[in-house]
Amino acid sequence: MHLLVKNGRVLDPERKVDSIVDILIKDGKIRSIGKGLTADVPQFDAAGLVVAPGFFDIHVHLREPGTEEAETIATGGAAAVAGGFVAVAAMPNTKPSNDGPSVTAYIISEARRSSPALVFPIGAISKGQKGETLAEIGEMVEAGIVGVSDDGKPVMDSRLFRRALEYAQLFNLPVIQHCEDLNLSKGGVMHEGAYSARLGLKGIPSSAEDTMVSRDLILAETTGGKYHVAHLSTRRAVEMVRKAKADGAKVTAEVTPHHFTLTDAAVAEYDTNAKMNPPLRSQDDVDALREGIADGTIDVIASDHAPHHINLKMLEFDRAPFGITGLETAVGLAFTQLRLPLPRLIEMLSSNPQRIMRVTPWGIFEGSDAHLTILDPSRKWKFDVNQSKSKSRNSPFHGWDLTGKAVATIVGGKLVYEDRK
C-alpha cells in the first residue's frame, strides 16, 4: 500500500512532532516525513486537517463469535474506522468466551479477512470468565492477546485476582477490571440516587465500584502488577486512582464518552439506550471524571462499544441488556464535550492506549506501520444512528450535533475510511 499524505498538520505529541509536512507511505509503512515530498503514488490532500497517529479503542465488544446478530468482526471493524479508530481491543465476552488460544486465533484470522480495522483480542482472566481458575493466559499471549480481563464479570475472588496480577507480569500484560462488587450491585439497573428513587428502579450504588477499585489498587500495589481500571464512573474511584498513581502504583484508567457526557437524568423516560454498566451517574461524578481527564489521572478514552440487537433493547428497562454502541461517536463527543488541547486528545486516544496494551507501537516516525487518523477539529456534523456501520442501533446520541470528527482513517497505508465534504 502506497500513499502520499500532503500538507496536513502532522501531530504526534509522543515524538514531539507538530508541523505541516507530507508523509510518504510505502508498503504500508511510513517511508519519509518532510516538506514538498513527491512520489508517483496516490495522494491524499490533508490541507487544513490534522494528521495523528492512529486512534486505538481499547474497550470494544465485537460479539463474534456467538452473537453475530448484534455485531460481527467485519461490521464492528467498519464502525471502528468510520469513527476514526485504526485499531480496537476486543473484550473476551464472546460465546464461547475468549479464554483459550483457539478463540483468540479465530478472532485474529477473521479480523484479517474481514475487518478494515486492526483487532487485538483481550483474553479472559479466568476459564469461562467464571472467576474460578486462571485461563490459559500464556497460550493466548502466543496467539496474540494484548491484555486480560473478565470484562463484565468482575473477578470477585480476591485471591484469584491477586494471582492474575502476579501471573500477567510474566508477559507484561495489563490486567483490566470492570470494577463492580456484584453483591452490592445485585439487581441494580441504574445509578442509585434521586432518579432511581423517583423512577422506582433498583440502584447500583457508587460503592459497588468504589469498593472494588479500592481492593484492586491494594492488590496492584502489593503485587506490582500492571492494573488498568475500565470505564471509571465515580468521583471516589477517580480520587483513589489519583492517589495510587501519586504513590507510584502501575495503574492506568479509562473513561467512556457517555460517562463524561451524560448523567442519570438521561434515564428519566426509561430509555433503554441510557442503560449501561457502570450506570450513568450524577453530575458530581461527571465533574470528577472531567477533572480526572484534565489532570491526567485518567489516561484513556475508550468507547465500551456494546452493540445489542434492537429486540433486546425494546424490552422493559429493567429487562433490557446494559450497553450502547460508541465507536462512531467517541471522537466527536471527546472533541465537543471536552475541548481538550489536541496533543492531549491524541494522547488519550492513541499514545496511552498503545502504551497500556501489549502492542507494537505505531506513530509518526519513519519505519512505523502507517496507521493514521486524520481529523477535522472544526467539522460540524450530526450523528445519524441509521447511517451507522455497526449492526446495532443502540445509541443515545442519535441526532446529536457534534463539532470535530475523524474524516479519514488509514490502516497499514490503506485509506479505509474517508468522509470529505
Partner: protein
C-alpha cells in the same frame, strides 16, 4: 383531559388533580343508584392489560368502565420475555390494531406503561408499574382523605412501611405534597430508598423522612400503611416479620399517639399481624373500605375525562 396518558402523579399539576377529584365526587352518586349505569362511554373500548396479578385494581377499573357503558376487556398477559417471542412493544401494537380507546396497564417493571404509551394511539392509564407509580391509588386515597377531613392542605400524613418497593408511597408523596399536606415517610433504614430526600420535585419542604414510627404517627391526621412486599424481597431488609411488627406494626398504642380523629388507610391487600394489628384494621378509624369505593369513583372520573370529551 389534555394529556394523552395518565402515567404518574409526578407529571400532574395541582389543578389537574383537583379536576379529577371534583369529577369523581360528582360521579360517586351513580354508584348509589339502583341502576348503576350511564351511557357516557358507550362504544368506547377499554382494555385492562395486567401483567401482574391484581384483583382489586382490575375489578375496580372494570366496574368503573362498565358503569360508564364502555366495553371493558380483561387481558391477563404473561410478562414478556425474548424466549417467548412477543415483546411489550408487540403487545402494544397489537392492541392498537384492535382500535382500543384506552389501555389500563399494570406491569411489574417500572416504566413499562411509558413504553406502551409512546407507541400506541390509545390513551394509557398506569395501574401500577413496578416500584414507580400507582397514580389512581393516590387519587383515591386523596379523595378518601378529603371526604373525611374536608381538606388536604396542612394535614400530617404518615406513610409507613416498605418505601423502597412501594409505588403507592411514591404516588401519594407526589400528590399530597403538591396539595399542601405534610407527608412523613417512615420505614426501616434498609427500606428507605437512597435519594428519597429528593423524591418530590415541587413543594419539597412538605416531604419529611424518619425511621421512628412514633415520630411519624405523633399528631398525624392520616396513617397510611404499606404492604410489606415479600415477593420483592430478595435480600434481607429486616430480620423477621416478628421484629418488623414490633418496630413498624400499627398497634392501638401507636394509634393513640395520632390525632384523636385520625384515620387509618391501607392500599390492600393487608398482611395482618405484619404491618397492621387486626383490631386496628377492623377498628372504627379504619377507612380501608371507603378507599375501595372511592377507587371506583376515581377511575370512572379518569375514564370520563380521558374518553368522554371526544367522539
Amino acid at each position: 383531559m389534555k394529556r394523552k396518558d395518565l402515567l404518574g402523579i409526578q407529571d400532574l399539576d395541582p389543578q389537574e388533580i383537583l379536576d379529577i377529584l371534583g369529577t369523581a365526587e360528582t360521579l360517586q352518586e351513580i354508584s348509589t343508584r339502583p341502576i348503576k349505569k350511564v351511557p357516557t362511554l358507550r362504544g368506547k373500548t377499554v382494555i385492562n392489560l395486567f401483567f401482574e396479578a391484581s384483583t382489586r385494581t382490575r375489578t375496580s377499573f372494570e366496574i368503573a368502565g362498565k358503569r360508564l357503558s364502555a366495553d371493558v376487556v380483561n387481558v391477563t398477559a404473561a410478562t414478556s420475555s425474548v424466549s417467548k417471542g412477543e415483546t411489550l412493544i408487540d403487545t402494544a401494537r397489537t392492541l392498537d390494531a384492535m382500535a382500543a380507546d384506552c389501555v389500563v396497564i399494570r406491569h411489574g417493571s417500572s416504566g413499562a406503561p411509558h413504553t406502551i404509551a409512546r407507541l400506541t394511539k390509545a390513551r394509557v392509564i398506569n395501574a401500577g408499574d413496578g416500584a414507580h407509580e400507582h397514580p389512581t391509588q393516590a387519587l383515591l386515597d386523596a379523595l378518601t382523605i378529603r371526604q373525611r377531613k374536608g381538606r388536604l392542605d396542612g394535614l400530617k400524613v404518615a406513610i409507613i412501611g416498605d418505601i423502597t418497593h412501594s409505588r403507592v408511597a411514591r404516588s401519594n408523596a407526589h400528590l399530597l405534597t403538591k396539595l399542601g399536606s405534610h407527608v412523613w415517610l417512615c420505614s426501616p433504614p434498609t427500606l428507605m430508598p437512597v435519594g428519597s430526600c429528593d423524591l418530590v420535585t415541587t413543594n419539597r419542604e412538605f416531604l419529611h423522612r424518619t425511621y421512628s414510627m412514633e415520630e411519624a404517627v405523633s399528631g398525624a391526621d392520616v396513617i397510611m400503611l404499606l404492604r410489606v412486599q415479600f415477593e420483592r424481597m430478595d435480600e434481607s431488609f429486616f430480620p423477621s416479620t416478628r421484629e418488623y411488627f414490633r418496630c413498624y406494626g400499627l398497634t392501638r398504642s401507636k394509634v393513640a399517639l395520632a390525632k384523636e380523629d385520625a384515620i387509618i388507610m391501607h392500599p390492600g391487600p393487608m398482611n395482618r399481624g405484619v404491618e397492621i394489628a387486626t383490631d386496628v384494621a377492623d377498628g372504627p378509624y379504619s377507612v380501608i373500605l371507603d378507599q375501595v369505593s372511592a377507587g371506583v369513583a376515581v377511575r370512572m372520573a379518569i375514564l370520563f375525562l380521558m374518553l368522554g370529551g371526544q367522539s
